[in-house]
């Protein structure tokens, strides 16, 4: 015979934990709510007293300022929202290129800490300690000064093979002339990506069924390259390149990166790579040494051990801190405002000075970074779930 549970006392007693919890929550919510109301009320009062207009209507007015570099066509007569779009695209451009380069450099440096060669180990250690102990803003300023002050003027640029030029005007490099052949090559590559993916799926399934290993990395890449090559041949195999030529005041032709972009990029990449190197080193160090010995006893080479045994296990440890480094790089790209690279912060401050809409402009900055941060974090969480250990 089971006894009935004792009747729950429902008294609004101070001794009841639930009741106290409720009171605390109501109190906390009231304090926060009052504080927010106080701030909002003051803001409205202040704006009325100072005659500041508010609202996002200014986004539709003409911007009235030029922007140094832009990935989409833009001039000063365009509306403010277009200027903000240019800024967002510039931020994303430097962040994406920076993340890719910092990951490559940081991974190399992190693996270098385990080199058998003492000089390589020492250099990697020295790099990490030097670059992560100096503020990133200072590094950006130094690189910008290097590009605008130390490099030779545009009339006598440093040149590699007459194709790559480095001068105060930035870095210029040749690009292929865009034509039918290039378009077909891109189309061929795009067409072959699903084929390569399907082949990879099939190869993995065959391996699981028959234990006969097929290439799951190089063969799909070869398929994509072959598709691209076929498109290029079909388009008449064009080989024309657009070379940069030193003009009187600017580099003509080719493609170029401005000193502002290079300064931001180099500063962010070198700084973040130091942190990524530490993340990679910690990840590799977290793999138990018995794993390496077991791989050795199976006869795997050093490279195979790294690729097949250590890295897949280290990746689980590496991904979460790597995500926060990517987010840090994206957020640090806001320092571009200090050297005049037109990222979203610098566009917003220009618009703020022009229109006086401080609340709106700062809200836009925060919103842009919040969205970027949350979506990057979302993507990396998805990837993390894929790489996470599969247990029962």
């Amino acid at each position: 015979m089971t006894g009935r549970p004792p009747p729950r006392r429902r008294g609004w007693s101070w001794r009841s934990q639930a009741f106290r919890g409720l009171v605390y929550q109501v109190l906390a919510a009231a304090v926060i709510g009052l504080a927010l109301w106080f701030l909002a009320h003051n803001t409205v009062e202040n704006m009325r007293a100072r005659g500041i207009q508010s609202g996002f209507g200014f986004l539709l007015q003409p911007a009235g300022f030029d922007i140094g570099e832009s990935v989409i066509p833009y001039d000063a007569l365009e509306q403010n929202w277009k200027a903000f779009l240019v800024g967002v695209l510039n931020t994303l451009r430097v962040a994406v290129v920076g993340i890719v380069m910092a990951t490559l450099l940081g991974t190399l440096l992190g693996i270098g800490r385990f080199s058998r060669n003492a000089i390589v180990r020492g250099l990697c250690y020295g790099y990490v300690e030097l670059f992560r102990n100096i503020p990133v803003l200072l590094q950006l300023l130094v690189w910008y000064l290097f590009f605008t002050d130390v490099l030779p003027p545009i009339s006598e640029p440093l040149s590699v093979g007459g194709a790559f030029f480095l001068s105060k005007a930035g870095f210029s490099f040749p690009v292929p002339v865009w034509g039918l052949g290039q378009a077909l090559a891109a189309a061929g590559a795009a067409l072959c990506v699903p084929i390569a993916w399907a082949y990879r799926r099939w190869a993995i399934r065959q391996f699981e069924l028959t234990a006969k290993a097929r290439s799951t990395f190089w063969a799909p890449i070869a398929i994509v390259i072959a598709g691209s090559f076929a498109g290029w041949i079909a388009g008449g195999a064009p080989t024309a390149w657009n070379y940069p030529v030193a003009g009187a005041f600017t580099m003509e032709g080719g493609a170029s990166a401005t000193p502002e972009f290079l300064g931001v990029l180099l500063g962010l990449v070198l700084y973040t790579a130091a942190f990524i190197a530490e993340v990679v080193r910690a990840g590799i160090a977290s793999v138990a040494h018995g794993q390496v010995e077991a791989a050795g006893s199976l006869g795997l080479s050093r490279g195979q051990t790294m690729r097949l045994v250590i890295l897949p296990q280290a990746l689980r440890v590496i991904i979460p801190p790597m995500t926060s480094q990517y987010l840090n790089l994206t957020k640090n790209s806001s320092l571009a405002v200090a050297i005049g690279y037109p990222d979203v912060v610098s566009i917003a401050t220009t618009a703020l000075n022009n229109t006086g809409r401080a609340v709106e402009c700062i809200a836009i900055i925060m919103l842009v970074y919040l969205i970027t941060s949350l979506s990057t974090a979302g993507f990396m969480n998805w990837y993390n779930a894929r790489a996470a250990i599969k247990e029962r």
């Binding site: 390589v120 102990n133 405002v337």
Partner: protein, 367 residues
């Protein structure tokens, strides 16, 4: 037949595994790849180092003379710019005759930091000492009492400002961070939600937008006609920003405390706050020392950003010292290297200290 004793030849001495030669054989010339790397790197060093040494030391100008700097332009560094401008770079726009005050105040603050970092002085009287030293710092810097002339905060600058912003940012952010971390793990949904929103919101935006907010929006937030000092606004911004990052580090430690500890505390009849203060936090904070020290280093480096909202700490005061002076402006790179060395010294010292303190707090776990 008498067999004659024939000694077998002696075995060769074992290969030495200690000493410089053995170390070099293992670490520099282990196999052909390692040997090649060593040789290539040595050649690169031979190619680069003499030029760098020439520029930085042998051809460099050390005594403050503009003519020799201009003569050495392109071949040697002009460290003379540091010798000429060091007071402006380190102390900013603080009135020249009163500059002993920031020096004394900063030495006091650094002495306090040194004392707080030493195990022997971890005693309760450290708290009143902190209050006294901070009060002394602000009296010395601001003046207006004790016969010291008044110096407004917009004239403060350089290293004293950097150290003060970092110290106060850390000291104010840490208690807030512990509260937020506890709140984020609280069972009360309203409090948990507020803490999550605060942490994720702040961690999602760059510090510079928080500083812009402190600079442009805080004046609007206050009652009409009242606007706090810009230094105070920036300090509030840095504190709120740093607290969100610190809170995440602390939360990592809270999560690592085994549940049995809290349950045991409940069995003993400890209240929530007693449990946190006596059982959970001591274990959690000991575990997160490396992460928290990294946060502290990040705060120190982040103070360089206040130069963007017109507070001239170390980075900003270098710009002030050189931008207006057409003669010395070409040697800004050397100036940057000088302040980079200062930042490096502070951050490196902090990371070394972090290793030491990690060893101290893990004593309880090592047997």
């Amino acid at each position: 037949m008498a067999s004659v004793f024939q000694p077998i030849p002696p075995r060769p001495a074992p290969v030495r595994t200690t000493g410089y030669v053995a170390w070099a054989r293992a670490n520099l010339f282990g196999d052909w790849r390692s040997t090649t790397t060593t040789i290539v790197l040595a050649l690169v060093a031979l190619w680069l180092l003499p030029g760098m040494a020439q520029w930085a030391i042998f051809q460099a100008v050390f005594h403050p003379s503009l003519e020799s700097c201009q003569a050495a332009r392109g071949t040697g560094a002009c460290w003379a710019v540091v010798a000429e401008k060091y007071r402006y770079i380190i102390l900013g726009r603080y009135p020249y005759d009163e500059q002993w005050r920031p020096v004394v105040a900063t030495l006091l603050l650094m002495g306090l930091l040194g004392v707080s970092c030493t195990r022997r002085f971890w005693r309760p009287w450290l708290v009143p000492l902190w209050i006294a030293v901070l009060a002394g710092y602000f009296v010395l810097m601001a003046g207006g009492v004790l016969g010291l002339s008044k110096v407004t905060t917009d004239l403060w600058g350089g290293l004293p400002l950097t150290i003060m912003l970092a110290t106060l940012g850390i000291v104010l952010a840490f208690p807030l961070a512990v509260l937020v971390a506890l709140g984020r793990r609280s069972k009360l949904p309203a409090i948990r939600t507020m803490c999550i929103v605060y942490v994720e919101l702040v961690r999602g935006v760059p510090l510079i937008s928080v500083l812009f907010m402190a600079s442009f929006l805080f004046p609007l937030f206050m009652p009409v006609g009242k606007s706090p000092d810009v230094l105070l606004r920036v300090l509030v911004g840095i504190t709120l920003f740093a607290a969100a990052y610190l809170a995440e580090s602390v939360r990592g430690g809270l999560q690592a405390v085994p549940k049995g500890q809290v349950e045991a505390a409940a069995t003993l009849g400890l209240t929530y706050w007693q449990t946190q203060r006596k059982i959970v936090l001591p274990q959690a904070l000991a575990m997160v020392v490396p992460a928290v020290m990294n946060n502290f280093i990040a705060i120190f480096k982040d103070t360089s950003l206040v130069t963007i909202v017109s507070l001239y700490e170390l980075t900003g005061s270098l710009g002030l010292a050189l931008n207006a002076d057409a003669d010395w402006r070409p040697y800004k790179l050397e100036g940057y290297f000088f302040i980079a060395a200062i930042y490096f010294a502070f951050c490196f010292a902090m990371s070394r200290y972090s290793l030491w303190i990690e060893k101290q707090v893990s004593v309880s776990r090592t047997r």
